[in-house]
């Protein structure tokens, strides 16, 4: 046995297919590719990869990574298995309903593919700190929420430490909806990030509240009437739990009654659930395509065996097969990866007021009326009056009392496209 196949559980010829790629370069392989044992050793014994989400994409991602030769895989998911997952999340069975996805998926992969270690975490991505994310070489996301994607994207962008090349973690993100999907590669601070493309997202459909209240015409209007207006009116502070069949049942009956009153057809249980949970249709085949694309990029990046996606791939399969591969450009005013950053050296005894004066006078930046904060701490806000008043006493304080050496200050002002970040050094 060769070095690359050193881990236990391997057998001769196990990686016959993958090794055809790793044993020699192709026409589009970067010259830095080290064919042979070295790259296999990195992939199979050293590379540590994080998978976020063990759902439709996550199940596929875990299987593909394991077969490709990644042996140290971590997976995070906060959800438990629902019966509606079983049409595509192929690591789960009827008996697993109610169990945590991350744990069941990890066990399944380890049973099926010997020698692969999958470490599950049943919880939120927000539970983990920078040190946790720092341990991985790569991160793949198969998430269904914009919010979670924004969080991990910002976290990985923030993680980039100018002095430490290891701190730059490629982020590969996939998403699907029905027969459509997309995969992208984000190299934090190098390529466009998730936040840069936020305006490409379809905004969720919302109906005017007065239409819902007075002139419903669509079944969706009746369902929104039940969930947005009637639920809080009747149930007060009790929160609507969209996973509770009794709650959905209640909404369904209220919506049906309203539909009947207005002679509207088409309110069904499924539509009610779809509208209130904002359900996106999902099938195994689209997830397979997108997950494969994500894992293929992870494999190429981890091994340098071929050029990787620059940086966005989208696929529409409703009418024939249409796909589009393009480079999404960074946004200069991106709130996460764009904007200016400055190192400032100030005296230890400088007051906040003096720092602000310096910012206003500094020729190359010329900030009008800056507001300053550091993390969750408000240093000085120009408005609204209550907050101005609350932060005014800080003007006379020394910056060094509020921000440690090397600490960050976020500056916003109407003259800045988004924000400016200051790194303070005391001299």
């Amino acid at each position: 046995m060769t070095n690359g196949n050193a881990s236990s559980g391997d057998w001769e010829g196990r990686y016959f297919h993958v090794d055809q790629i790793l044993d020699r370069p192709g026409p589009r392989t970067d010259p830095s590719f080290l064919a042979g044992e070295e790259v296999k050793d990195f992939l199979r014994n050293k590379c540590k990869i994080l998978v976020i989400g063990a759902g439709g994409l996550g199940c596929e991602i875990l299987a593909n990574l394991a077969l490709s030769g990644f042996k140290d895989i971590h997976v995070i998911d906060m959800d438990t298995i629902d019966i509606s997952n079983l049409n595509r999340q192929f690591l789960f069975r009827q008996k697993d309903v109610g169990q945590p996805k991350a744990i069941v998926a990890a066990e399944f992969i380890m049973n099926r593919i010997p020698g692969v270690k999958v470490t599950p975490y049943y919880g939120k991505i927000q539970d983990k700190d920078d040190d946790y994310y720092m341990q991985f070489n790569l991160v793949i996301c198969g998430l269904d929420s914009v919010e979670a994607r924004r969080w991990i994207n910002a976290t990985l962008v923030n993680l980039v430490d100018p002095e430490n090349p290891e701190s730059l973690k490629p982020l590969i993100d996939g998403g699907t909806e029905g027969f459509k999907g997309q995969a992208r590669v984000i190299l934090p601070t190098v390529t466009s990030c998730y936040e840069c493309s936020l305006d490409m997202l379809n905004k969720p459909t919302a109906f005017p509240i007065c239409t819902i209240a007075n002139t419903p015409r669509l079944p969706e209007h009746c369902i929104e009437w039940a969930s947005v207006l009637e639920w809080p009116r009747v149930h007060g502070d009790q929160k609507l739990d969209t996973d509770d069949p009794e709650h959905i049942g209640w909404l369904y009956s209220i919506a049906s009654a309203r539909a009947k009153e207005f002679k509207i057809e088409g309110v069904s249980w499924s539509l009610t659930q779809g509208v209130v949970k904002n359900i996106i249709p999902a099938i195994a085949s689209t997830n397979a395509i997108i997950a494969a694309s994500c894992c293929n990029e992870a494999f190429k990046i981890a091994t340098s065996s071929a050029a990787y996606l620059n940086n966005y791939f989208m696929l529409i399969g409703t009418d024939g097969v249409y796909s589009y591969t393009f480079e999404h450009e960074r946004r200069e005013d991106c709130p996460v990866c764009g904007g200016e950053a400055l190192d400032v050296s100030i005296g230890k005894e400088w007051t906040v007021e003096r720092l602000i004066e310096m910012l206003v006078e500094k020729q190359d930046i010329q900030i009008k009326k800056p507001s300053l904060s550091s993390g969750a701490k408000h240093i000085y806000f120009q408005a609204p009056p209550q907050l101005e008043e609350a932060t005014r006493p800080n003007l006379e304080k020394m910056v060094s009392e509020l921000v440690p050496d090397g600490g960050e200050i976020t500056v916003t002002a109407s003259s800045l496209p988004f924000s400016l970040s200051l790194r303070v050094k005391y001299v």
Binding site: V146, P162, A206, A213, P232, V336, P384, R423
Partner: protein, 204 residues
Amino acid sequence: MIKIWSMKKNEDAAAKKKPKTSAAQIRVQKDLTELDLPSTMKTHFPDPADLLNFTLTITPDEGMYRGGAFVFSFVINTNYPHEPPKVKCTQTIYHPNVDLEGNVCLNILREDWKPVLNLNSVMVGLQYLFLEPNADDPLNKEAAEELRKNREQFIYNVKNSMRGGNIKGVHCEHAPQSPYSSHALELWHVVAATWVAHSLEGAK
């Protein structure tokens, strides 16, 4: 692994590190500290350290709601500005575009929300509802009906509601800015005008 680091342009990469504040947090800081509100609108933060939960009080100085003080709660989630702020009226008020639960019919709070809009746009939009209540997009149907059919009666109801009166069996909260404000005088003018209108109609 590919050598990504070499692709980082040497630039000022050294200073690109950002503070540990979420994009939503920074955006809210930007929106709030750049608010340009007229004297008729005031924000209040129950916890000044928490920028995501606050109230806005609108005290219109013209129009039929002049003299009232209307309080709206703002709740901003961490997905802002991808999602709009959640805004509700905290009082029971008599207004065609605000229902008795405090839901507000303002397009930019739902169907027309875009991330380029900001808190200032929402606040200005809310104030506009008091200057120009809109009978065509009603949430409180009775109020809208009244506004359309009998403007004088509507104005009378508004004034009455702001004093804490009952409108069609619904008790409205006392909403004057100050019970002894100079607007009281105007109120009586309106009441008198309504009376005149009514008696004229009766005489026909």
